[in-house]
């Protein structure tokens, strides 16, 4: 933890810190990102026959866009529940190191109780995490949890709202526009996953996944998502090891 700086932002109450967090969420670039992503997920949920309330609940309890996309498309395609569960679990491993990195920023050593950290841990997702790591160091330690919860509620509210927007737009729009809305999910995930793939191993896994996903489905291979992950991941890992040995 860095030494306390005199310029840290303080608030009159936890409520004020919470409100400042909500404001920060709505003014950040992730507001637009979430609005677009969840409009697309709303259209996807509509297309696969889920109810709008099911989607809203999934945004609150799952609160991870990749896991929600996997859940909706796997269950909607009639995959086995256990396959969908394993695919969701594999997609969510990244949350562990994120929570580990976030907690030291929230802990106001002597005063923080473990149960106060339960909510921020649940709220941990890419949008909230990036902004928390950027903004929290400038907030007084005793108000960080409230600010972080406000930030998260701001983001989650955005996701739930635009999930409904996408869902009902997909139901009412002419087919081509509804199709374009539906296309938002694969397109934005294609690009953001590529952007998050910084190491060679992740890039190789990304390309292999793009190829294996449709191929295994085309040949009617059972548990295709798991095979895509295992084959793509292990081959990429092998190449990564081989490159390191060769270098």
């Amino acid at each position: 933890m860095p030494p306390p700086a005199p310029s840290r932002r303080t608030f009159t109450s936890s409520g004020a810190a919470f409100a400042a967090g909500v404001r920060a969420a709505w003014l950040s670039v992730f507001f637009l990102v979430l609005a677009g992503t969840y409009s697309g997920i709303g259209a996807l949920a509509h297309d696969f026959g889920f109810s709008a309330w099911w989607l809203a609940l999934s945004s609150v309890v799952v609160w991870a866009a990749p896991a929600q996309v996997i859940l909706i498309s796997a269950l909607g395609n009639g995959s086995a529940a256990i396959e969908a569960a394993i695919a969701v679990a594999l997609s969510a491993i990244r949350l562990l190191p994120m929570v580990v990195a976030l907690l030291p920023l929230l802990r106001d050593d002597a005063n923080t109780r473990k149960r106060e950290l339960l909510l921020p841990a649940h709220f941990t997702a890419v949008s909230m995490w990036v902004e928390s790591l950027r903004l929290l160091p400038a907030i007084a330690p005793e108000h960080r949890i409230a600010f972080c919860n406000g930030l998260s509620v701001g983001y989650m509210g955005t996701a739930v709202t635009f999930g409904f927007v996408g869902y009902y737009l997909a139901a009412g729009l002419p087919p081509l526009l509804a199709g374009a809305l539906l296309f938002l999910t694969p397109l934005s995930f294609l690009i953001s996953t590529a952007r998050n793939s910084r190491m060679l191993i992740e890039r190789v896994a990304f390309v292999l996944g793009l190829a294996f996903g449709p191929l295994l489905t085309w040949y009617g291979v059972g548990l295709d998502l798991l095979w895509t992950g295992v084959l793509g991941g292990v081959i990429a890992y092998g190449i990564h090891r081989w490159c390191r040995t060769a270098a």
Binding site: L57, L96, G179, V234
Partner: protein
Amino acid sequence: MTTTTTVFDTAGAWPYVLLLLVGFLPNEIWRALGLVLAHGLDEDSELVVLSRAVATAIIAGVVAKLIVFSSGSLDSVPLWVRVAAATIGFTSYALVRRSVFVGVAGGEAVLLLGGFLFGR
């Protein structure tokens, strides 16, 4: 391309049970573990590197399947237009300041134009 038919029964309480068992639990377990472990995790350990690769491949697989085996209203846009739109969107992202917004806008523009000209 084939239209995906929904095999999944979306009526009643069952979807909500699946949401908790298949969506919430396998996702939340990692947040809970993060809370318990809290420190002493090496982000560069071999297991973390491998699991990140597996997760990346799964998400890429889901994305490619959504593009290739489109369902519902997206099915009226020919496969080659969908693939072209994704390719051009990705290329414009890579060329223009690695901007996700530019990539998404470019891909959507191609999809709308191609769907308008060649769609059913």
